[in-house]
């Protein structure tokens, strides 16, 4: 009268198949949540940077220069005291001279401080956080840290309102020159009053991640201290190409871009953070990059 019987093979297989399907559904969902968390962290970093730049403006009456020619330093150095890194800022030599001078390329007291990783300068979705460029590596072999956030130096191309070209300081060595109509560019001294288009309508800081040759995402390869090296601008980028465009061989025109699906995040001039889609009308992207172009349409 014993009616107990075991599971048949078919039943077992069905159960295993169902479990497999459930796991298959779950794993991509976990990856998606991880990416969403990384994106939120990145958004927060940009918010902190935006607030830091505003605090700098409150104290100094203007935004820091995006990239200073005289001492080669980027805006990130000047914003340090306002992102809780005052003690590191005090170590910096703000005097004239290359950012990687000296026999060990330490600056001195400039590039050597990029050996410190400032977590607010890195997007957690970007796998490479160390600068890969040879000039950003100390002679003794120690590697510096890079930053995924770059100032918006301004647009290059044609202003749709006036039909004239956006102002660009051209240089002859093929790095693409310096766009002049953005908030953070070469030797800029932007004040709130000079952002005529409105601070909420102007891009200030954005993400830069490029798939270099090996298809690995990283920033522009420079350390976070570097602003200007000869005619190559590292702390800021011209807006010449659409978001997520691969490297065209023109260093100052490296496009803004990110590993987040479909676009990149930007801190606007008013400190808010927006996600701008990669497929946005290029004219609109450039209009948003300029602070005094008089354009109406703004990317959001």
């Amino acid at each position: 009268m014993n009616v107990r019987r075991g599971f048949t093979l078919i039943e077992l297989l069905v159960v295993i198949a169902i479990i497999a399907i459930l796991i298959g559904l779950l794993l991509p969902a976990v990856q998606k949540v991880r990416e969403a968390a990384a994106r939120a962290k990145c958004q927060n970093n940009l918010k902190q940077i935006g607030i830091g730049l505003h605090a700098y403006h409150d104290a100094n009456g203007r935004f820091p220069a995006g990239a200073t020619v005289a001492n080669g330093l980027s805006w990130r150095v000047y914003v340090l005291p306002y992102v809780e890194q005052d003690s590191l800022y005090k170590l910096f030599d703000l005097g004239a001279g290359a950012w990687n001078g000296g026999t060990n390329r330490e600056g001195p007291n400039k590039m050597v401080h990029a050996l410190n990783r400032i977590s607010v300068f890195n997007c957690p979705s970007v796998p490479v956080i160390q600068a890969s460029n040879g000039s950003s590596t100390l002679v003794d072999g120690r590697k510096t840290f890079t930053s995924d956030y770059h100032g918006v130096a301004g647009p290059k191309g044609t202003n749709p309102v006036t039909g004239a070209a956006y102002a660009v300081d051209a240089n002859p060595t093929g790095n693409g020159g310096f766009a002049l109509q953005g908030i953070l560019g070469k030797d800029t001294k932007t004040r709130f009053a000079s952002t005529i288009d409105g601070t909420s309508n102007t891009l200030m800081v954005g993400e830069v991640s490029v798939k270099w040759n090996s298809n690995i995402l990283e920033s522009d390869g420079a350390d976070w201290v570097r602003g200007m090296s000869g005619n190559g601008m590292a702390g800021c980028r011209n807006v010449q190409n659409a978001i997520n465009t691969p490297y065209t061989g023109v260093y100052n025109d490296i496009s803004f871009g990110s590993p987040h699906n479909g676009g990149a995040q930007f801190a606007m001039g008013d400190g808010s953070v927006r996600f701008v889609q990669a497929t946005v009308d290029l004219v609109v992207l450039k209009a948003t990059a300029s602070m005094d172009g008089g354009e109406i349409q703004i990317a959001n």
Binding site: N133, G174, W212, N241, P246, Y247, T248, D281, L282
Partner: protein, 140 residues
């Protein structure tokens, strides 16, 4: 017997899923198209480089920017998946000799400064033959 009764339903379910899976894929946005063609430098095919198609706002064209890699003188925007907005374009070409590509010099030694051409892209699939003149000739 029971299993036979359900076959048509299973088939129709499969059909519905199939339609859902394959609808909405393929094709580009209405106002964009794909372009391909060849780029020569001083008459010879450009070994490596990049071509960017930017809609020309000075001539009233708006839209997304398209780009394509140049390999052995050929390019096709289908490879990047980003189409070109139909109408007048500002086309920018960069390129090098393709020897010893490094991360920061992906095209090898650059052969020329960024080269700009203006042209029209129409809706029909079109192939362009572009030539970048050698800077030596330009200087004269």
């Amino acid at each position: 017997m029971r299993s036979r009764c359900c076959r048509p339903r299973a088939a129709s379910l499969g059909l519905v899923f199939g339609v859902l899976l394959f609808s909405g894929c393929g094709g580009t946005l209405d106002n964009t198209t794909h372009v391909s063609g060849t780029v020569t430098f001083d008459g010879k095919p450009l070994p490596a480089g990049m071509i960017v198609f930017e809609p020309d706002p000075a001539k009233g064209n708006r839209g997304q920017q398209g780009h394509a890699d140049i390999k052995d003188g050929r390019f096709d925007t289908r490879s990047s998946g980003k189409g070109v907005a139909i109408g007048p374009q500002v086309v920018r070409i960069t390129g090098g000799d393709g020897a010893n590509p490094e991360p920061f010099t992906p095209f090898g030694k650059l052969l020329f400064e960024e080269h700009t051409v203006r042209l029209d892209v129409s809706k029909e699939p079109s192939a362009f033959q572009l030539d970048v003149p050698s800077p030596k000739h330009k200087k004269k």
